[in-house]
């Protein structure tokens, strides 16, 4: 299998250098672009397996680049954002970005995100899968959740919520995406419901709900179920 290709759309030169070094070291063929326009043409020309897009580009708004990409490709896009730009991140994720990174981020986080995004893109079927991580096993098809071998009793809503997270395991899901998937589009803004149900899931599945290992909170954005053990560990 040839090397996976990545297009990096980033205006800051030292960050570009770092990304090229890390991705190159991890076996990617890296193509750099300094501006949104150049990034779009690189993406069209190189047909990458993954795209890294900084939201703070000087020439075009990052969300516009994303919209234009999504109009013709489903290639996974990971956005790079600054802290404090919660609205920008959520907008991008709701508009089709697959995941996000906040500056400053570590190289392990970066590579993990890319791996997860590519894995989801490569999956041919939406088949029900089995999720394994630490002592937790979630079998969506069999409708069965166990922690350390013990059966855990979930309500229908709790299970629905959990299965959405499993389906996207390793990737972030925004509040809106989760609410729409579990409760329907009319409840897209009832964030408090979502939070309270996530608290219940945490108390049932986590050893210490104040130090969750599986069900991670992405503040101001949504939630993420940490990638299962079958993924190459970060």
């Amino acid at each position: 299998m040839s090397e996976p290709r990545a297009v990096v759309i980033e205006n800051d030169p030292s960050l570009r250098r770092f990304l090229k070094a890390v991705l190159g070291g991890a076996g990617y063929e890296v193509y750099l672009a300094e501006t949104g326009e150049r990034g779009l043409s690189e993406a069209a020309a190189r047909r990458p397996d993954v795209i890294l897009l900084d939201l703070g580009l000087p020439d075009i708004d990052g969300n516009d680049v994303l919209a234009r990409l999504r109009s013709w490709t489903a290639t996974p896009v990971i956005i790079i954002s600054a802290r404090g730009d919660e609205n920008g991140k959520v907008r991008a994720l709701d508009a089709g970005a697959d995941d996000y990174l906040v500056k400053p981020f570590g190289s392990d986080e970066l590579l993990a995100r890319l791996r997860v995004a590519r894995r989801h893109a490569a999956r041919t079927s939406q088949g029900d899968e089995v999720y394994d991580r630490d002592d937790v096993r979630i079998d969506v098809a069999a409708h069965r959740v166990t922690v350390r071998g013990e059966h855990v009793h979930l309500t229908a809503t709790e299970f629905k919520l959990l299965s959405e997270l499993v389906r996207a395991s390793g990737r972030v899901l925004t509040h809106r995406q989760l609410l729409t998937a579990v409760w329907g589009p009319t409840h897209a803004d009832d964030t408090h419901y979502l939070r309270l149900y996530m608290a219940q899931l945490r108390s049932k599945l986590e050893q210490d709900s104040t130090d969750p290992q599986l069900l991670q909170t992405e503040v101001g954005v949504g939630y993420r179920l940490v990638a299962g053990d079958d993924t190459v560990s970060p």
Binding site: R195, T210, D211, Q216
Partner: protein
């Protein structure tokens, strides 16, 4: 319009009496040639004319003198026998006495007429000056301008030298601020009395009545802004109540003008303060943005090296960990800077929602991964408290900052505790505590530690610029809550946050069957 109303001979009182004698002499001189033509009684009219003139132009005293000496002159020069003070005829005697009596009456009337005319004149001058002063005060833009206007207009209207003493902000005049005594010899203790009592003093009043000067306080209903000191050329001119009432009016006008000038100055100062704040904000925001970019590369590159061959030896691993941890710490620092800049930018709205407490603590712990490595963190959330009604993004910063401080300033082998309880009358207050077993804080530090840029430790012992707690306080106050620190029994500090919560608690979830 600057002429002070004077009358002839005002500066030479004796001169008026001399003039009266001159007038009598004139009447005599005019009458003598006609002594044989007209009878004596007719010629007495000349003296009456003289008395009237003296009364109108010279005043009561000289007019009386003119009446008496005129009568005597008439007796001496015109009545038979001439050139003696004897009077032979009965009608001449009558004329003589009538002349003197009428002369005295006329003297009195003429003098009163003159006084009235003078008062009317004075009133006219004062009225003109009052309106001129009012108008001029409208345009005055400084205390100096007001003082000069007072000196010019009030001085003219009242024939006096004027001094206006303007107080500091509270209206009290400390002795060091009194101008040197120059034209107007005022007394400092009278000034002080006037400021304290808020009443006039000096000549014409019952207080310090023997002073040559008149002191009037310039006050608004709230406070005394200054003292108007009047040194009349004629001390007696302020004895009647009318000019003193007029002065009190002027003093009020001046007080209003001073008030206006003061508020204008405060507004200007506020405008300047706002400009400085704006610059500071822009600087903070710019700084933190500029710091963040190199940080991103530092954190990223160091973590990359850690996962590679370069990290094989223990010492390289240690070094790389250090670079990585310190860059993350700097990143948190610039986060605080940026948040602080945005909060100062205010008004920041609090987007509060019901958020489970374990979720906030969990994400805070994740953010402190590096510094919390190998540290014991005990969390105690008192049931049935599950959720807090706060802004999740803002409040999480508070928890991160408090926990980071606790970890930084306590020994590595000690545990920190995060406690959550409900308090208040109806359990409608959230209480969050972060407790450590560090060295504790000095009493002076405890009260100041929430100030921006204040640090309890001397420079260099721990990294940081002292913004973390200031940020916490800003966020807590946005939630209408409180933040404070207490000593713990057994050593260490306990930082507490309270935030009012809506009664009723978080919304209930619909009950479902578990499978």
């Amino acid at each position: 319009m600057g002429a002070v109303v004077r009358y002839p001979g005002q500066s030479w009182p004796i001169g008026r009496y001399v003039m009266a004698l001159v007038v009598v002499g004139l009447s005599t001189a005019v009458g003598l040639p006609f002594a044989g033509v007209f009878n004596a009684a007719s010629l007495s009219m000349l003296y009456l004319l003289g008395v009237v003139c003296c009364g109108v132009y010279l005043g009561r005293g000289p007019a009386v003198l003119a009446a008496v000496t005129g009568g005597l002159a008439y007796n001496f020069c015109f009545t038979e026998p001439r050139w003696s003070l004897h009077i032979r005829g009965a009608s001449d005697t009558l004329t003589f006495f009538a002349l003197v009596t009428i002369g005295l009456v006329v003297a009195e009337l003429a003098a009163r007429l003159r006084a009235e005319a003078l008062i009317a004149r004075m009133r006219e001058v004062r009225a003109t000056e009052v309106s001129a002063l009012s108008e001029a005060l409208l345009g005055a833009d400084s205390e100096t301008a007001i003082r000069e206007l007072a000196q010019q207009h009030i001085g003219t209207a009242f024939s006096a030298e004027i001094e206006l003493l303007v107080g500091a902000n509270e209206g009290m005049l400390p002795d060091s601020q009194l101008p040197p005594v120059e034209r107007v010899p005022f007394a400092a203790d009278v000034v002080r009395w006037v400021v304290v009592e808020g009443q006039a003093a000096g000549c014409g009043t019952s207080v310090f009545a023997d002073s040559q000067l008149h002191y009037v306080p310039a006050r608004t209903p709230h406070r005394t802004l200054g003292v108007l000191i009047v040194a009349p050329y004629d001390a007696g001119s302020l004895l009647p109540p009318e000019p003193r009432a007029a002065l009190a009016n002027h003093a009020r006008q001046i007080a209003l003008a001073l008030d206006r000038v003061r508020y204008a100055q405060q507004a200007q100062a506020a405008g300047l303060t706002a400009q400085i704040e704006e610059s500071r904000r822009a600087l903070l925001a710019g700084l933190s943005h500029d710091l963040r970019t190199p940080l991103a590369t530092l954190v990223g590159a160091s973590s990359a090296l850690l996962s590679r061959k370069e990290a094989e030896t223990e010492s390289s691993k240690e070094l790389l960990h250090t670079i990585h941890d310190e860059s993350q710490r700097m990143a948190r620092l610039t986060d605080n800077l940026l948040d602080m800049a945005r909060l100062i930018n205010g008004p920041t709205s609090v987007k509060a929602e019901w958020i489970p407490i374990d979720e906030m603590i969990g994400s805070a712990r994740r953010q402190l991964r590096g510094i919390a490595r190998d540290r014991r963190i005990e969390v105690d959330i008192q049931a049935p408290l599950r959720a807090a009604f706060v802004d999740p993004v803002l409040f999480e910063r508070v928890i991160v900052n408090l926990m980071e401080n606790a970890l930084k300033y306590s020994p590595v082998n000690s545990a920190i505790q995060v406690v959550c309880r409900s308090g208040g009358h109806d359990a409608d207050t959230l209480l969050l505590g972060v407790l450590d077993r560090g060295a504790g804080l000095a009493r002076e530090t405890k009260s100041r530690i929430f100030e921006p840029f204040y640090r309890g430790l001397p420079e260099g012992e721990q990294s940081g610029v002292g913004l973390g707690l200031a940020l916490c306080r800003a966020v807590v106050e946005l939630h209408r809550g409180r933040i404070w620190v207490e000593d713990r029994a057994g050593g260490g500090s306990a930082f507490w946050v309270s935030a009012p919560q809506p009664s009723g608690g978080p919304p209930r979830l619909p009950t479902e069957v578990e499978e």
